[in-house]
């Protein structure tokens, strides 16, 4: 399986739900079996058609192999609440191969990966890709509280240097991901999470890095211009030219 970010082409296909379980408070892991050939890089996303909803739901890919995709989603509205009710053997119409994903060739030898809350899932596929390349990443995950924590064991099993921060101190360091990050040495950073976390990271980061952005999307594949943003290198579509942008191009 190639994890290189080669020429991207999206694909529409039907996936079968293998499992769909609550792994933390309001947070579900769904494993889907189907054609994953369009997935080319960690940090890409899928766009899922749900019965009864007009727009698809864009969800980042947590992990993938030749025939399964794993996504982790938080129930934040009617669409994700409907997903949480879905059972194994049900099928979903999914667009895959969406978004640029992270460019891991820039990682250097000691990158740090920072995931906050619903931004944690793509960090897993990213860490796995880096490990497969022989790079040992440092990982910092941030959550509000212990009951929201997920994938702690999975990250630890990858052999990454693992740190966790919770706002209330119920697990790991009490405070924010940046409280951990400022103590670390690293060659590059990759992150996904909420905007306040991004701004805090931008304030202390010592190297170049990549941020993965979230935006309300119409199509998810570059046709509608619903999720555009301005960058130093011109307008970009979060869904097609992103969601990952490099630190140097971002206008805060």
């Amino acid at each position: 399986m190639s994890r290189r970010n080669t020429r991207r082409k999206m694909k529409q296909s039907i996936f079968e739900i293998k499992s769909n379980i609550e792994i933390a408070k309001n947070t579900f892991e769904m494993v889907l079996a189907g054609d994953t050939s369009a997935v080319t890089a960690p940090g890409q996303f899928v766009n899922i058609k749900l019965d009864g909803f007009f727009l698809r739901r864009p969800i980042s890919i947590c992990d993938w192999n030749e025939d399964t995709l794993t996504i982790i989603y938080k129930t934040v509205g009617q669409g994700t609440e409907a997903m949480a009710e879905m059972k194994p053997c049900e099928s979903l119409d999914i667009l895959t191969g969406l978004g640029n994903g992270y460019d891991i060739t820039k990682s250097g030898e000691r990158p740090v990966l920072i995931g906050g809350g619903a931004g944690v899932p793509p960090m897993y596929g990213l860490a796995k890709s880096l490990v497969a390349k022989g790079v040992k990443p440092q990982v910092i995950l941030g959550f509000n509280t212990a009951e929201e924590v997920f994938y702690k064991d999975e990250f630890e099993k990858l052999g990454a240097d693992f740190h966790i921060a919770t706002a209330d101190g119920s697990v790991g360091t009490k405070g924010f991901v940046t409280d951990v990050m400022k103590e670390l040495e690293y060659t590059y950073f990759f992150t996904c999470g909420p905007m306040p976390m991004f701004k805090a990271i931008e304030g202390i980061a010592k190297t170049s890095g990549q941020y993965s952005f979230e935006e309300r999307m119409g199509c998810g594949f570059g046709a509608c211009m619903g999720c555009s943003c301005k960058t130093k290198y011109g307008n970009k579509r979060i869904c097609k030219d992103g969601p990952v942008l490099e630190r140097e191009e971002i206008i805060w």
Binding site: K9, Q12, K49, R216, G218, G222, A223, M225, C227
Partner: protein
């Protein structure tokens, strides 16, 4: 074998299906998925004289059976479209394309069309101009021209002077009497009427208590608006002698036929492309089967049949 051809202002279309402006970019995202030469044509992303970023995000809100967008005519401007987008489009689409243009003054519309006309390659690619006087998402232009018969006629007459190509005027449904606007455009020299653009709408986020869309309001499109669009196509078909391009919520081959029975010579597919990127192709493939079912031999025979 059924005949799915149709004709729009003297140009024969292999079928009546035309992806609508703003839902199909300049074609190449979709060309990754299928050969878009199966389309009747497509209407490319609304182009203005100057480059536009458009409105702040969020620009998209979901609705029951539809969506609201407030993109605000993001496009690279006519010069970049001619220099960069149309050559790329030419590699993936070999039929006459519909050039959708928008503006903030009569001069804007005229100059944008004039620049397309002045470029030999662009001129050869473009089959029709579709002049958008109905965008609800921009201030000081767009829909302002499409809600007043005199202003609609003024834009039409001015653009008419700078092109010999078929000139379609795309109308807004956000008016009291759409037939009055359509007649004004016809009298001013339009060759056809496209309708409907989106309906002005809003959603409010219960968590924040504020509109979902940064621009507060936006254009409501999608399957839910089909009955409104059908009604207006039916009315305009009665009001004018020039051809009508029908659009608004069309998502199936059956609905293409319904729109043609209402009076459309060709049918644009909009929001359906965004949720199913194969929508236009699937509709075209399904047309012969649905025609068989309703004993339609020649699609062009049913245009306006409901009257």
């Amino acid at each position: 074998m059924v005949d799915i051809k149709t004709s729009l202002c003297g140009i024969t279309l292999d079928n009546p299906v035309i992806p609508a402006s703003g839902t199909f970019g300049y074609g190449y995202e979709f060309a990754e998925l299928y050969d878009i030469n199966c389309l009747g044509s497509f209407s490319f992303k609304g182009t203005t004289l100057e480059p536009r970023f458009g409105n702040p995000t969020p620009r998209i809100a979901e609705c029951p059976d539809g969506m609201i967008n407030a993109v605000g005519l993001q496009n690279p401007g006519v010069d970049a479209v001619i220099a960069e987008e149309l050559p790329k489009l030419a590699q993936v689409f070999h039929k006459p394309v519909m050039a959708n243009v928008s503006g903030f003054s009569v001069d804007d519309y005229v100059e944008t069309v004039r620049r397309f006309e002045a470029d030999e390659a662009a001129k050869a690619q473009i089959g029709w101009f579709e002049v958008n006087i109905s965008c609800p998402n921009v201030h000081g232009g767009g829909m302002a021209f499409g809600t007043c018969p005199d202003a609609a006629a003024e834009v039409t007459a001015a653009v008419r002077k700078v092109t010999d190509k078929p000139l379609l005027i795309k109308l807004s449904p956000n008016v009291t009497d759409i037939t009055e606007i359509a007649r004004a455009c016809e009298a001013a020299g339009a060759d056809g009427i496209s309708l409907i653009n989106t309906l002005l709408g809003m959603r409010i986020n219960l968590k924040t208590g504020k509109p979902v869309i940064a621009n507060k309001m936006g254009g409501f499109s999608g399957h839910a608006i089909l009955p409104v669009a059908l009604r207006m196509v039916y009315q305009v078909y009665d009001a004018v002698k020039i051809p009508v391009v029908g659009m608004g919520g069309v998502s199936t081959a059956e609905e293409v036929i319904e729109m043609m029975m209402a009076g459309a010579s060709a049918v644009e597919i909009g929001a359906a492309n965004l949720i199913n990127p194969y929508a236009a192709k699937e509709i075209i493939e399904k047309l012969p089967e649905v025609m068989d079912k309703y004993n339609i031999k020649k699609l062009s025979d049913i245009i306006g049949g409901a009257h």
